[in-house]
């Protein structure tokens, strides 16, 4: 259990936080859990890969171009499909997003085959900085830094802008929000669009960090979900804490036995669930 392992775990937590932030946003505003979330991250990675290949751009620029495309996709998905099934019954949104997950996975399989892919980041992949007791990879550092930046920006949006006010009000009480001139369905579409932008960032780092293929989506969903639950519903910084806990648990587990990496993360999740079912930093009300 060395310092290096723990630090690697914290940085890994940055990636999981990126996975989780979009999920947290959407659930916070409209109580929707998108079972296709992980698959959409993978789809984002393929989109970036396409742009890199077709336009010869570096991955970061490709992600910049992919982001508005993903926003539009999320916006349309919410408007055309998900808004229709939102309501007091939890079954339809669950089943629709589950079906969506299958559609996305198989669509990607058809379009790109099951071959493993990777977004090449050149020198960045192996660059590192030596800080004495630990050596930090530049990529994990960037990932973690991006996660922090995303959370800062989301908090800024939520608490310092009119849009954020509208998000919070709609989350509290959609009917009264409509009395204020807010159209909840439009807000939901914007929220999902925003979540897809975060998904794009997550996809960028997912794709650069390791190989990916169309079937890895559900596992990402599970990590994202675990991070959100550990952190507590409604808290973005909590989601960061959750991501870090999963990341550290996984790296510690892997250090003992590589086969135990994923299981260790799940066990950490179950442990937190046992003692703190509402998470570490839950909202006061829900």
């Amino acid at each position: 259990m060395s310092l290096d392992t723990i630090v690697q775990g914290i940085l890994l937590g940055g990636l999981y936080t990126l996975f989780a932030a979009g999920l947290s946003l959407v659930f916070g505003i409209m109580r929707l859990v998108n079972l296709a979330h992980g698959d959409l991250i993978v789809m984002g990675a393929y989109l970036i890969l396409l742009l890199v290949g077709a336009l010869g751009l570096n991955p970061f620029l490709a992600a910049l171009i992919a982001a508005p495309l993903m926003f539009a996709l999320g916006w349309a998905l919410q408007r055309l499909v998900l808004n229709r099934v939102l309501g007091p019954d939890i079954l339809p949104p669950l089943l629709v997003t589950f079906g969506l997950s299958i559609v996305v996975q198989n669509g990607l399989l058809m379009g790109f085959t099951a071959d493993s892919q990777r977004i090449s980041a050149g020198a960045l992949e192996t660059a590192s900085v030596d800080l004495g007791p630990v050596t930090l990879g530049i990529m994990p550092l960037l990932t973690f830094g991006s996660a922090i930046a995303v959370i800062l920006v989301l908090n800024w949006i939520f608490y310092r802008t009119a849009l954020g006010r509208a998000f919070r009000a709609t989350s509290d009480d959609p009917v009264t929000a409509s009395l204020m001139g807010i159209r909840p369905k439009a807000i939901f579409a914007q929220a999902t669009g925003l979540a897809m932008v975060i998904v794009t960032i997550a996809a960028l780092y997912l794709g650069m960090r390791a190989n990916f293929d169309p079937t890895i989506g559900p596992a990402r969903l599970i990590y994202a979900f675990e991070a959100v639950i550990i952190g507590g519903l409604g808290s973005l910084w909590g989601t960061l804490a959750g991501g870090i806990i999963i990341g550290v648990a996984q790296t510690l587990g892997a250090a003992v036995n590589p086969e135990w990496q994923i299981l260790a993360g799940h066990i950490a999740f179950l442990a937190v669930l046992l003692v703190r079912p509402r998470g570490l930093f839950p909202r006061a009300f829900d």
């Binding site: 079972l35 229709r84 089943l95 997950s101 299981l263 799940h266």
Partner: protein, 353 residues
């Protein structure tokens, strides 16, 4: 004379007769049908049973699980464990598979019920993953690569000798016939059991909890206990079915036994297409699914994508499935559970709603 509550309709009476005839015909089927048909029917019956349990959980219980594959695998591994470790006859070990799934279900329920709604769903998925990853470490049953049923144990299964002599067929085909009869029995018991339960007071309580847990609690229904009962019953039944499925296959591996696609995606599709929250729904669903599977499964990803798309479209535009559409038009109920109040004439009171 007092007012009475009944659930019988004319259609249900006919259904009962038809069902008995069908069951008798099915039992006699191996005399005329070839092995391929028997295997197909085995697939249909076991998937139907899985669908009925998922429907009980989600459609009637309001507990949407995308982790039932955990119990399919646990039941199967329980069976294989008993057969390998104790040389137990697989047919006799079937209930053990169910019990094994049930035992593991208890702590998983404890965790899963700490979550609600959509998060409960993913929670069940996490549980299934934990189970899969843990079982993959179990070297005695082959770890990550899996294992097969010991040869002797399989060929000497209860009933195979009888079937071999009755029909003059070889051991492998006889095993399939035995498996088929067991699947038939399981399906009949499952559907019959669920139907009777739903007609009982427990079923009424379940519907109440699903519709409005607070209100149900206020009339004395123990919502928490109902959820536990339904969850554990579904786990046991799913485990039993899983054990039977893998008894027929003879070979197991964690990725196959805990597959989300085979044991959740297909099952959900069957229930959704057919009609969630009805007993008739999964019956229609399995027929549709079997036809699609037979015609198009070779198309791989395209086929799966189409299934997913159909599922999404059905949920968007016909959320009560095919049976929902039929039932709405015709008011038919083959397995009626809606209670009607019959007030005898001349009792001096106004009729109920």
């Amino acid at each position: 004379m007092h007012p009475t509550v009944t659930t019988r309709t004319r259609a249900s009476g006919i259904t009962a007769v038809v069902a008995v005839l069908l069951i008798i015909a099915a039992i006699a089927l191996p005399t005329v049908a070839d092995r391929g048909v028997i295997k197909d029917l085995f697939f249909i019956l076991t998937m139907l049973t899985l669908a009925q349990y998922w429907n009980l959980l989600a459609g009637y219980g309001g507990l949407v699980s995308v982790g039932q594959q955990a119990f399919v695998g646990l039941g199967a591994y329980g069976l294989f464990g008993a057969a390998i470790a104790w040389g137990m006859d697989p047919v006799l070990a079937l209930p053990l598979g169910g019990v094994f799934a049930l035992i593991i279900a208890i702590p998983t329920a404890f965790f899963a019920f700490r979550l609600a709604g959509a998060y409960f769903a993913i929670g069940t998925w996490v549980v299934a993953e934990v189970v899969r990853l843990s079982v993959a470490q179990w070297k005695a049953v082959g770890g990550g690569t899996g294992t097969s049923l010991p040869r002797g144990v399989q060929t000497d299964m209860t009933g195979t000798a009888l079937v071999e002599s009755l029909f003059g067929i070889r051991s492998a085909a006889a095993q399939d016939v035995v498996a088929f009869w067991l699947a038939l029995a399981l399906a009949v018991l499952t559907i019959g059991g669920i139907y009777l339960m739903l007609r009982s007071k427990a079923g009424l309580a379940l519907a109440a909890v699903r519709d409005n847990a607070e209100a149900a609690r206020s009339v004395g229904v123990n919502a928490v206990r109902m959820k536990w009962v339904v969850y554990l019953a579904a786990a046991f039944g799913t485990g039993l079915t899983g054990a039977l499925i893998y008894l027929q296959k003879g070979r197991i591996s964690p990725d196959a036994a805990f597959s989300v696609t085979d044991w959740t995606a297909y099952v959900v599709f069957i229930v959704v297409i057919g009609g969630i929250g009805t007993i008739e729904g999964p019956i229609i669903g399995i027929v549709v699914f079997f036809v699609l599977q037979t015609l198009f499964a070779d198309y791989g990803s395209t086929y799966l994508l189409a299934l997913g798309l159909i599922g999404v479209l059905v949920m968007l535009f016909a959320p009560r499935g095919i049976w929902g559409l039929i039932s709405e038009r015709t008011g038919l109920q083959f397995f009626p559970i809606r209670r009607t109040l019959h007030v005898p004439r001349g009792s001096g009171r106004k009729a109920g709603p």
